[in-house]
């Protein structure tokens, strides 16, 4: 069983699904069903992969390496550690949910529009799997950049009125970051051992490049990831993109795609450039803390709910980056867990906001009010998702946010305390939003046909809420998957956890 090229199959499946959809005749009526089927099969397959994965081993597993472009030193190499696998699982879980949520986004009008829509989503899924599974830096870069295209079309072709501008801004930002990274990618190869497989991660780890070169290479990678993540001050594309994108697209964009940024920081910045990472830590921590507070404050002031969610994500990404660069086992495990949790939380927020928008036809928060009385279930699940967003204990995000804060505190108390103020601000932006949407007298100007959640929408929300609870109360399986990988990363960086001031067994020993 383990000889099977699991990851390649996993990657190819949605890609082939997308191809099949494109090849279907114009006006093919079952494209949504086909896409959903493919994504579900992918999900099942991914679960098989997860079973093959040996938990507790921090190294890269399920490796496959094929020579691809030996002249450049490029291999088609896939493999996962716990972090990558968790992100892949997040992706393959979210895609079917998004497909169901997007069921009525694009009507089947006899053209290829609907086919295109779901095909792009499947293609995106393939690339998301690829970007997390790649263990060759060139391959990673290829997916990193190629991924922009499906998103670009998903936003630009199927988004809101300002979609063209949003799509372009998104693309240029990401492309700029990516291209800067390209220089660093090449530079890294030059600094490395070279050869026909010189881009393999394992060949580039532990190079001890040192000096200015390492710092520059680090910056090349970091800038790309910071844009992707996105961190202050290179975040302005996200609110635009998230606002104009369809909710499902926004979920995949913010929930999964942006994680490539933080994933990259962990996997590439830290692991490849340990010295430079430590050199850059103060700067990064400052940016992370600014992101947390800045994103949260801006979220409070938003009038457009999609923008609001986008800004909350900027705040949350601040936490993730904070945890990554605090470089303690707890903080990094927290950050990686946060990456998973944030995926679910944001998905729920975007999709439920999308349900509201579909009913009211407006993203403007002020157009709502009293909807708890009209659509109690939507309002209720919105609240639950919001509570997850503000990291209420018992729901998923709490565990990770808490771990980030206390883990960071072990090494950088000031950053942790400043970052933790995000906890207070989160309560403000979520609850004020919920208040404006759901509370107050029942709206009068609403057509009587406005229905509460449909069965389809229940299928969208139920797994997400289930994920909140499971990850909130029993995150252990995920943590066990993540922690060894984090430990390995920290070993590469050469950082050990700070010991507590008093030994654990205390004076009574």
């Amino acid at each position: 069983m383990s000889d099977m090229p699991w990851l390649t199959i996993l990657l190819a499946l949605p890609a082939l699904g997308a191809l099949a959809l494109v090849l279907m005749p114009r006006g093919f009526a079952r494209s949504r069903e086909l896409a959903l089927g493919v994504s579900l099969v992918t999900l099942v397959l991914a679960l098989f992969v997860a079973v093959e994965f040996i938990v507790g081993n921090g190294h890269i597993q399920l490796q496959e390496t094929y020579s691809w472009i030996p002249q450049f030193g490029v291999s088609f190499a896939l493999g996962v550690d716990g972090i990558a696998l968790s992100m892949i699982l997040l992706s393959v879980i979210l895609v079917p949910i998004c497909l169901v949520a997007a069921w009525d986004d694009v009507p089947a009008d006899g053209t290829r529009r609907q086919q295109g829509y779901v095909a792009w989503i499947l293609l995106l899924e393939a690339m998301m799997i690829g970007v997390f599974a790649a263990t060759d830096i060139f391959l990673f870069y290829v997916f990193f950049e190629a991924m922009l295209v499906p998103v670009y079309f998903l936003i630009g072709q199927y988004g809101g009125p300002e979609r063209a501008r949003a799509a372009t801004t998104f693309l240029l930002y990401s492309l700029l970051g990516g291209l800067i990274m390209l220089v660093a990618v090449i530079g890294l190869y030059v600094a490395g051992p070279g050869g026909g497989d010189g881009f393999l991660l394992e060949n580039l780890t532990g190079l001890e490049i040192g000096g200015v070169t390492e710092k520059l290479l680090f910056l090349g990678f970091f800038i790309a990831f910071a844009i992707k993540a996105p961190m202050f001050p290179v975040h302005t594309w996200l609110p635009q993109a998230a606002t104009e994108a369809r909710p499902s697209t926004a979920v995949l964009l913010v929930g999964v795609l942006d994680k490539v940024g933080t994933f990259g920081m962990l996997r590439y910045c830290l692991q490849l450039f340990p010295e430079a990472s430590q050199w850059a830590t103060p700067m990064v921590l400052v940016l992370a803390v600014i992101s947390i507070i800045y994103g949260a404050l801006l979220a409070i002031g938003q009038k457009d709910m999609m923008r609001l969610i986008a800004f909350t994500s900027i705040s949350h990404f601040g936490f993730i980056v904070l945890g990554i660069f605090a470089m303690t086992t707890i903080s990094q495990t927290g950050s990686t867990l946060y990456m998973v949790n944030h995926g679910f939380t944001t998905a729920a927020l975007f999709l439920i906001a999308g349900m509201l928008i579909a009913r009211r036809g407006s993203r403007n928060i002020a157009d709502y009010g009293g909807w708890q009385r009209v659509t109690p279930l939507i309002a209720g699940t919105l609240l639950v998702s919001g509570l997850s967003g503000l990291a209420l204990p018992g729901l998923n995000a709490f565990v990770s946010e808490f771990m980030v804060i206390i883990g960071t505190f072990q090494r950088y108390p000031a950053a942790a305390v400043l970052g933790a103020t995000g906890v207070i601000l989160a309560a403000l932006y979520i609850l004020l939003w919920y208040q404006k949407i759901a509370t107050g007298p029942a709206p009068e100007n609403l057509s009587s046909t406005t229905r509460d959640m449909t069965v389809r929408e229940k299928f969208v929300v139920a797994p997400l809420v289930a994920a909140f609870l499971v990850l909130g109360f029993y995150p252990k399986p995920v943590i066990e998957m993540l922690e060894p990988a984090v430990t390995t990363t920290l070993q590469h960086v050469g950082v050990t956890d700070p010991a507590s001031a008093t030994s654990a067994d205390g004076s009574e020993g």
């Binding site: 709490f398 808490f402 206390i406 883990g407 942790a416 004076s507």
Partner: protein
């Protein structure tokens, strides 16, 4: 876990040394105490309309189930030796990474069980009461779901065996409180009140999170056993900081100064909620937290002093505000603040105060819940009016309510031999025994507070039940149904006799001694009898003054113009104005400013600036592309000359 091999005597002198053994018997089912109401909440919320009919009853039953189970556990503990009454129930490995290892675990010990009994008993009574009170509310099912959720969260809070699990309950009760305050959120003001409660609480929670971070960094663990066990090895500064952070957390939850502002607004919730959450249980969580963290506070007099100071300030603050409120629920809320101030003061006094704090907490849970339920009953009678200036002379109309409320009133003003008398007098006495100047200050504050309490509670009582009827025209007061009155009666009995049952018999102090240790004999600044007499005299003065002004005299139906002091008290000593002026407005301005900055500076400079720069550069360069061949040739020649020139310069 290994059982400690130290003698019992030492263990009692150093209560943190009590090591929990793995729970057996009924105690092992402690998780069920939490699970029952949690299940109720889940069923009612997920079940939807199907559960409309039987949901409320089910919720009530499950709550009682918890109480019964809690009682059985207490019985089991009682059967064990005093030092063996601490048991742990390990459920599952919750969060473990690196040094952090937190199990979802419960600590069943006398302190937690005391709370369990209080919560489930009062909670269940209030469930019953709500059956009547909410009978006609269309969202009754949701209400009971939230109530159950609250009970579950509160039980998690008190049963937790680590700060992190405690925090789950801590925020869980915050959530339940938020949901219930905003239960009638079609009124925008109520929704705002709910938000305010949550957000202010979050400030406290923030401190608590940092406290936990500090603990982890210091002790490498978050469970009570390790943290308390190794508290002695931490530096004084560390302990003080942790103590202050925990205090800040407690202030948020218990509406202590300076995070007190939300409690008054929280009265927006249905009255049973105010009784259960904002009087009897949740708001006392801060006191529980400090008491539970005694091992830390014992070692840091500075933090303890801060606790006492906060308690003393709040005690007076609440009392003063209580004197001026005309809204019956807000007056009760102010009184709650004040009473919790007493408890905080007591825990801040250290070992001498812990037991009295918990004692007062329990009695207060009874009498204050009783009075809130009474207030609810009055509102029920008065078509949900809350303005006491339009009450009066209700004693005849709602007799049961009047009597039960009277019991609570007697208890809170500290009428001799009622429950409140036992618990509050001891706190005042303990306050006088604090060392140095603290004894005088805290003692006198507590004493003064007792007098003011007597005044404002009597004011409330007289304005509501005595004097002339000042009802609005369409009001026809009527007594509440049995589902409401029976809980009130039970609580009234508790208010009167609980003190006598628990204290003189040594029941409570014996029960809690394994946790808090034996209270050392202490030197009071004043003789005990002097204190008791002064308390009594002050009480009589307070009641008398209130009678003169609100029982005998005509009470104006509209609040008259008043002195600055009265106006200040009516407006909660300007707490909201302060927050508005110094927190909300600058905050809002900051948000607006940042929003503009994000658009105009960050986006504009990064994106707009770059694109504008490039476009203008392009427009400059393209001027050279003017279509004239000769101009192109000139460009080329210029290029050649430049290149040759450059080479010439280089060489």
């Amino acid at each position: 876990m290994s059982v400690l091999e130290t003698s019992v005597g030492v263990a009692l002198a150093d209560p943190s040394a009590v090591t929990a053994v793995e729970a057996t018997g009924t105690s092992a089912l402690a998780w069920l105490v939490i699970a029952l109401p949690l299940l109720g909440a889940a069923l009612l919320l997920v079940g939807g309309r199907v559960t409309d009919t039987f949901g409320p009853l089910l919720a009530t039953a499950l709550s009682w189930g918890s109480f019964v189970l809690g009682a059985l556990i207490v019985v089991q503990l009682y059967g064990r030796a005093a030092e063996d009454r601490s048991m742990s129930v390990q459920l599952w490995d919750w969060v473990s990474a690196g040094e952090l290892s937190v199990h979802a675990g419960l600590l069943v010990d006398p302190l937690s069980m005391a709370f369990v009994l209080l919560i489930t008993f009062v909670g269940s009574l209030i469930h019953v009461y709500s059956l009547g009170y909410m009978a006609n509310d269309p969202d009754k099912r949701r209400f009971f779901a939230y109530l159950n959720l609250f009970v579950a969260a509160m039980l998690i809070l008190v049963l937790a065996d680590s700060y992190l699990v405690l925090f789950v309950g801590w925020e869980g009760v915050g959530l339940a409180s938020y949901l219930l305050i905003g239960f009638w959120n079609h009124n925008p003001a109520y929704a705002s009140a709910a938000n305010k409660a949550f957000v202010v609480n979050r400030i406290g929670d923030f401190a608590l999170i940092i406290a936990m971070a500090y603990m982890l960094a210091t002790f490498g663990a978050l469970d009570f056993a390790t943290v308390h066990g190794s508290a002695g090895s931490a530096t004084q500064t560390t302990l003080t900081i942790i103590g202050l952070l925990l205090l800040a957390g407690a202030c948020g939850k218990s509406a202590q100064f300076p995070l007190q502002s939300w409690l008054g607004d929280a009265m927006a919730g249905p009255t049973p909620v105010s009784a259960l959450i904002h009087a009897a249980t949740m708001v006392t969580a801060g006191v529980y937290l400090v008491a539970r963290s005694q091992a830390i506070y014992d070692l840091t007099p500075d933090a303890r002093l801060a606790v006492a100071v906060v308690g003393a300030i709040t005690l007076l603050y609440g009392a003063i505000v209580g004197c001026a409120k005309d809204d019956i629920k807000k007056a009760l809320a102010a009184s709650t603040m004040s009473q919790i101030g007493y408890m905080m003061l007591a825990v801040g006094l250290g070992p001498i105060g812990y037991i009295y704090a918990i004692f007062h907490l329990i009695t207060h849970g009874f009498f204050k819940a009783g009075m809130f339920l009474g207030a609810g009953s009055v509102m029920h009678a008065m078509n949900d009016r809350v303005d006491m200036r339009r009450f009066g002379a209700l004693s005849r109309e709602v007799k049961i309510t009047w009597i039960t409320f009277g019991a609570g009133w007697l208890a809170i003003i500290g009428f001799p031999f009622t429950a409140g008398w036992f618990s509050k007098d001891h706190i005042i006495e303990s306050a006088f025994s604090a060392p140095g100047w603290q004894g005088w200050v805290f003692g006198l504050v507590a004493l003064l507070g007792a007098g003011i309490t007597a005044f404002y509670m009597s004011r409330l009582f007289f304005m509501t039940f005595h004097g002339k009827a000042r009802w609005e025209d369409d009001i026809h007061p009527h007594e509440s149904p049995l589902t409401m009155t029976i809980p009130m009666m039970v609580l009234a009995v508790g208010s009167l006799v609980l003190g006598a049952v628990l204290y003189p018999t040594g029941l409570l102090s014996g029960w809690l001694e394994p946790v808090f240790g034996h209270a050392e004999g202490h030197e009071s600044l004043l003789p005990l009898i002097a204190i008791q007499v002064s308390v009594f005299v002050l009480m009589v003065l307070g009641v008398g003054l209130a009678w003169l002004r609100y029982g005998r005299d005509e009470v104006p139906q509209v609040a008259p113009e008043a002195s600055f002091a009265t106006r200040a008290a009516r407006q909660d000593l300007f707490q909201d104005e302060f927050n508005e002026q110094f927190l909300r407005r600058p905050g809002a301005a900051l948000v607006v400013g940042l929003e503009t900055a994000d658009k105009d500076v960050v986006d504009n400079a990064m994106v707009g600036g770059t694109s504008r720069g490039l476009a203008s550069l392009a427009n400059v360069v393209r001027q050279a592309q003017n279509g004239f061949v000769r101009s192109y040739a000139l460009t080329m020649l210029a290029g050649i000359v430049a290149i040759l020139g450059a080479v010439w310069v280089i060489q």
